[in-house]
Amino acid sequence: MSVYINGTAAFISQNTLNFNEFQKGLVEYETDFLKTVPVDYKPFMTPIEARRMSKIVKDSIVAAETALKQAGVTMPDAIICGTGLGIITDTEKFLEKMIDDKEQYLTPTSFIQSTHNTVAAQIALRLKCHNYNFTYVNRGHSFESALLDSIMMLREGKRNILVGGGDEMTPHYFSVTKKTGFWKQEIVKNTELFGTKTSGALCGEGVAFFLADSQKSKSTHTELVDLKLFYKPADIKEIFDTIKIFLDANLTKISDIDLVILGNNGDWEQDKIYKTLQETIFEEVPQAYFKHLSGEYHTCGAFALWLASQIVSHKKYPEFIKANEMKTDKINTVLIYNHYSNINHSLFLLKSI
């Protein structure tokens, strides 16, 4: 059985509404964290419908319904979402009010919205979809767990799985998490991210949704050949070995890969793993970056999959994602390798149809 991506939409700091628009040029920012572009919700929902939704919920609904429409699907057999942080805007709103007002005059809206499965639930509610509905919340494997579950669902005979992931960042939560040193302490230009010599990643946010099915259709972007999740590898050798076993299992040689998309996030320390791979096994492979577009967040793997799907279906990619000078005359096979904080590592293998 094969897995096809028959519809997809994503929102990050760039113009991702359509690939041609996206390709025209990198939108430059000089910022502490990359924020998702404003999304026009009006064609999708009334102000009354939107009244309780924070940006991530609205963005997710628009992305999910766009992916469904592309694939011509009205009722998916499953809705599966991933989020590292959940709805942090509402979590923060309720928490801050509770602390400031000493547990008085609290109202339910932000508490209800703060529930991690809000996005999957809202989509089901809008579609009146009674089918399987799951949400994974496992740091850098939140979206990837959802995607693995989708593949399992298709193998179990289900069709048309709506799968997506998203995370949002707020100024307050950014200022709190910045104290851990995980984010860059200084303001940077996203265009110059990979030239920085400082520690800390460029923070970001975004959502991406997909319609995955076991059957090809007119709208098929790509085939998702395989997905591998691995946790806290002991050393770089384990990473090498895992990549090799993954490619072998899929009868793919390194030289078959037309593009490898890598999760470098601008952190001098964390990027060492990618750099080692770039200089060794992937030395002869055309390489690309994506986190100067999306920034780092738990579910940015979903954006990487959107990007790879678009590249495979359009058979081209823009200059501004290139990470080396290697060229290819065809784009049939794309590999994504990403890790979150050296905890959650992921490999995605895509092929053209």
């Binding site: 102000p47 009244r51 109202t107």
Partner: protein, 83 residues
């Protein structure tokens, strides 16, 4: 009464996050729930807190809200009766 109705409208727009709506868009006598403005049970809980916070009226049973929150006007009348 007119001032109270106007204030209530403003407070409801803020509490329920009814973006793009102005007080004059809401008919004081129209139903707030279902076919009227389209509010639901979660909004009713928001209105209960609004009544306590702005008017000092405490409601223990969420079911009491149904009649009181029929429209802005019924809310205003209830507030006046408690003064």
């Amino acid at each position: 009464m007119e001032d109270l109705i106007h204030n209530l409208k403003k407070q409801i727009i803020e509490a329920l996050n009814l973006e793009d709506m102005k007080p004059e868009d809401i008919d004081a006598e129209a139903p707030l729930f279902n076919e009227g403005l389209g509010l639901d049970s979660i909004d009713a809980l928001e209105l209960i807190v609004l009544m306590e916070k702005h008017y000092g009226i405490k409601m223990e049973n969420p079911n009491d809200g149904k009649k009181l929150f029929y429209s802005i006007k019924t809310m205003a009348e209830y507030i006046n009766s408690k003064k």
